[in-house]
C-alpha cells in the first residue's frame, strides 16, 4: 500500500529551518509554506531573512544528505521526507553534504 494519499495531504507544509556549520540561527524556525512553492523560492526567502549578500552562497539540504534540485516543489519533498507533519530543511553557507 502507498504510504501517503491525496486525502491527508496538508494544505500548507510546515517547514522547519535548521542551520548547519557557521550559518546564523533564525529567530523564527517554523514556517508554513505552500506545497507548490519551489526549493528556489525557499532559498530566496532564506537569503532575505539572513540578509545574504549577492556574492554569498546558500545551500539547502534534506535529511542532512542531499540538496534537492531548485525547481522541486516543497510538497513533493514533504511526500517522501516529511516527519511528524514537518519537513526539516538544513541550510548552510558552504557545501555541507555531498
Amino acid at each position: 500500500m502507498a504510504t501517503t494519499s491525496e486525502e491527508n495531504k496538508p494544505k500548507k507544509v510546515e517547514v522547519l529551518l535548521r542551520p548547519t556549520g557557521d550559518a546564523p540561527i533564525l529567530k523564527r524556525k517554523k514556517w508554513q509554506v505552500d506545497p507548490s512553492q519551489s526549493v528556489q523560492w525557499v532559498i530566496e526567502f532564506l537569503r532575505k531573512l539572513l540578509k545574504c549578500e549577492p556574492s554569498e552562497s546558500l545551500f539547502l539540504y534534506v535529511n542532512q544528505a542531499f540538496a534537492p534540485s531548485p525547481d522541486r516543489e516543497i510538497g513533493s519533498l514533504y511526500e517522501c521526507f516529511g516527519v511528524d507533519g514537518k519537513l526539516v530543511l538544513h541550510y548552510a553557507r558552504t557545501q555541507a553534504w555531498g
Partner: protein, 263 residues
C-alpha cells in the same frame, strides 16, 4: 544485473539538433547535427559538441548558455534524455527526435542553468542520494568511497555498462537483510508536472501506485491514461519492486510518464 538492464542501458535515441532559424547569423546554412543519445544520458552532456558545431553560425556577441527546445517546450536537461522523449514524443512519428538549439534568451524562469560538467554530475549524485534515502535510508551511498561515486558517473559518461553496474548493483540489494527496498522511489511526469512519492515494496503493483497518484484512473479493464517507462508500457499488474530493480534509470528512480488518452 539482468539482461533487461543491459538492453535498457544500450537504448539510444536518434536526435537531430537544429539551430533556431532566427539565431542563424551567417549567409551559409549551418546544417543539422545527428547524434545517437543514450536514454540514460543528460542533454547538456552534448553541449560542447553542439556548441562547436554551431559556433560559426551564431552571433557571438548575443551568445548565452546553450539550451534546447522541442515543439515549443524548453527541455529540462536535469531529466534523463529517455524521460524527456517518453514525455514529449510519439516514437511512431517523431523519430529522429528533432531538437531546436538556442544560444539566446535563456528561459531562466523554466530551466536550470548548467554551468558545466560538474553541474550535471552534481545533479546526478544528488538525485541518486535522494533515491538511496528512500531505498536504504542512504546507507548504501554513504558506505561507498568517493572513487566508487566517480566510477558511477564515469560509467554513465563513457556509456560503459560494466563499469556502472559493478557499483550500481549495490543499490539493488534489499534494505537491512530484506529482499525488498525500504521504500520504492517513484517520479511521475504528467502535464509538465513532476510528482514524487515513495511506496512500500510489498504487494505494491504499478496499478496501486498509479491509482495513488490518480485516484480511480487505472484498472485492468478500463484505462484512461497511458503509461510509459523506459519507452515501454509494462502491464499494470507488474510488481513495483521488480520494476524498480529492472526499469529504473541510472539515478535509481523509477521515472513514469503518464499521458491522457484522447477520448
Amino acid at each position: 544485473m539482468s539482461a533487461i538492464s543491459k538492453k535498457l542501458w544500450e537504448g539510444k535515441l536518434p536526435v537531430c539538433f537544429e539551430l533556431a532559424s532566427h539565431e542563424v547569423d551567417c549567409p551559409t546554412e549551418p546544417g543539422m547535427l545527428y547524434l545517437m543519445v543514450a536514454r540514460t544520458s543528460y542533454l547538456t552532456m552534448f553541449s560542447q559538441q553542439i556548441e562547436e558545431f554551431f559556433n560559426n553560425y551564431i552571433n557571438l556577441k548575443q551568445k548565452d548558455e546553450v539550451w534546447f527546445e522541442y515543439n515549443g517546450s524548453p527541455l529540462r536537461w536535469h531529466y534523463p534524455c529517455g524521460v524527456l522523449f517518453d514525455l514529449l514524443c510519439n516514437p511512431a512519428t517523431d523519430l529522429p527526435w528533432s531538437i531546436t538549439v538556442h544560444f539566446q534568451n535563456f528561459p531562466s524562469d523554466v530551466l536550470l542553468r548548467c554551468p558545466g560538467d560538474n553541474a550535471i554530475e552534481s545533479n546526478y549524485m544528488m538525485t541518486l542520494k535522494e533515491a538511496d534515502q528512500i531505498k536504504h535510508k542512504g546507507q548504501v551511498i554513504s558506505n561507498m568511497s568517493r572513487n566508487q561515486h566517480m566510477q558511477l558517473w564515469h560509467g554513465i559518461r563513457s556509456e560503459n555498462f560494466d563499469e556502472f553496474w559493478t557499483i550500481n548493483k549495490k543499490f539493488m540489494e534489499g534494505f537491512e537483510g530484506l529482499c525488498t527496498f525500504r521504500n520504492i522511489p517513484v517520479r511521475v511526469y504528467f502535464q509538465e508536472k513532476l510528482l514524487q512519492r515513495q511506496f512500500a515494496a510489498e504487494e505494491t503493483t504499478l496499478e496501486t501506485a498509479l491509482n495513488n497518484f490518480f485516484p480511480n484512473s487505472f484498472s485492468q479493464d478500463q484505462q484512461t491514461m497511458k503509461v510509459v517507462i523506459q519507452g515501454i508500457s509494462p502491464p499494470l499488474s507488474s510488481s513495483l519492486q521488480w520494476l524498480s530493480e529492472n526499469l529504473s534509470y541510472a539515478d535509481n528512480f523509477l521515472h513514469i510518464c503518464v499521458h491522457s488518452i484522447p477520448v
